[in-house]
Symmetry: C2
Subunit: 249 residues, 2 copies
DNA sequence: CTCTTAAGCGTATGTCATACGCAATTATCC
DNA sequence: GGATAATTGCGTATGACATACGCTTAAGAG
């Protein structure tokens, strides 16, 4: 309990465990203020617009003032990526794992889609932020009645997280591209492919194009595609749970 | 056939379909040269080191010369992300779909891991580069004997791509973090979590920590974790194929 | 041989993260 | 209560970056 472990800097920062100030001028900002302002800027103008100067302007302070609260921009990005995850939904108790995880994944996707810039922030380490861990906890809880051991649960949740991340990346960046240039997506895309794809070199793709799969308005529908892939993954989890229940590794 | 469709600029660029030059000074570079140099820089020093100036220096040219071949840095990044995918493996014919897709996904992951910076490049649209399409084609081909219709095949491959992307992002960025700061991962991580995680607020996570799952050296082993998640996903695909074979949507 | 066209490249602009040092302000100690 | 020490606020400076612009130069067309 009184184990004297030095907590890493990022951890104390994310959890707001900075030592109480003793002497000197009173801080006029808080780390939370700065994070909130940065998130506002990112939501409104995209991650590219988040510069130290821009965030400081949002707060009515000077650029360099921020560096008294945050060691670097990277640290600010770390804070932002935790702040973007507001608390997870309180799933009703007594759900079977599949319903629970489906709801969980959908909510996560929805939350992340409200802050699409999260995907662009590089991951710098294992999750340590309170909100990240909160979500993690809720997913683990949904797996409570499956009989999996703790390590397997972590594996499943990691896999699901991986999938949601990939999903988010594809869906947000494609839909951004779509918004910027709708022409490139609809029929244009199919036609351009048809022109360029040689059936000799790309036989399977040729068949798909011939079947008209890319003729629709948008070849990639976030909603549908996301549900489809998620369903596939959860089918896999179901099979895994059964295999474990049947007793072998 | 002689449909007069204007191909989008990126397409002609990626496929090397630029008009033949007529008059004027001979170009001393090619788009391929520039792309190759940029990839070299990214491989050796990371994507952050890829500046127009750095790439030009690599080629012994001046910065601004590159802009004669490439409209912007973003265009160069697009070229790089296609170039990073050398051709897909020629899968032996007659494999069942699962073996084929497993090999495919592993190869893709391996190729991408040799160019880890690919994950950091934003996706700007649906795949149009020749190498991207080549890989796509090979995955579709592996699904040839499943009886799925073309649209479903596309869905499955998209899902798998999504997963591999998420996988890659997690694994490369975490392992980079690990290389930079090994301390933060091993026991340190478990201990720090234990200090900060309140069993009241994070009951399920608390159990996992108590079970010692995070006590190992590295909580996230790319190899193992990747195979695990991939297996789950493919189990899901198997279930889906059976469902379709059984006749209902 | 001249003209047209496109390539090479120096310069300039504006944005960015961030190091550094000084001034302003506050809590503590005598 | 006045001195001291700590700590924030912020102006300035630096060096990297993408990229616009325009001049110079080379190569083919007539």
């Amino acid at each position: 309990m009184t184990d004297e472990i030095e907590l890493p800097g990022e951890v104390t920062l994310l959890w707001g465990l900075r030592e109480t100030v003793r002497r000197g001028r009173k801080p006029s900002l808080t780390v939370a203020d700065i994070t909130r302002a940065a998130v506002e800027v990112a939501d409104a103008e995209g991650l590219a617009a988040v510069s130290m100067a821009r965030v400081a302007a949002q707060l009515g302070n000077s650029t360099m003032a921020l560096y008294r609260y945050v060691k670097s921009k990277d640290e600010l990005l770390l804070l932002m990526s935790d702040a973007a995850l507001d608390g997870p939904p309180d799933l009703p108790d007594g759900l079977d794992w599949r319903t629970g995880l489906t709801l969980w994944a959908r909510s996560l996707l929805k939350v992340l889609q409200r802050h699409p810039w999260t995907v662009q922030i590089p991951i710098s380490g294992p999750p340590v932020g309170p909100n990240n861990l909160w979500w993690f906890d809720r997913a683990l809880r949904a797996l409570g009645d499956t009989g999996l051991d703790e390590e397997d649960k972590v594996g499943v949740v990691m896999g699901l997280l991986t999938f949601v991340h990939g999903e988010l990346r594809l869906s947000t960046e494609l839909s951004k591209g779509y918004a910027e240039n709708p022409e490139a997506f609809g029929r244009q895309y199919g036609k351009a492919l048809a022109r360029v794809v040689d059936a000799q070199r790309f036989p399977a793709l040729g068949k798909v194009i011939a079947a008209g799969v890319f003729e629709g308005e948008v070849p990639y529908d976030e909603e549908v595609e996301g549900e489809f892939g998620l369903g596939l993954f959860l089918d896999g989890v179901a099979a895994f749970i059964e295999r474990r229940a049947a007793g072998q590794g």
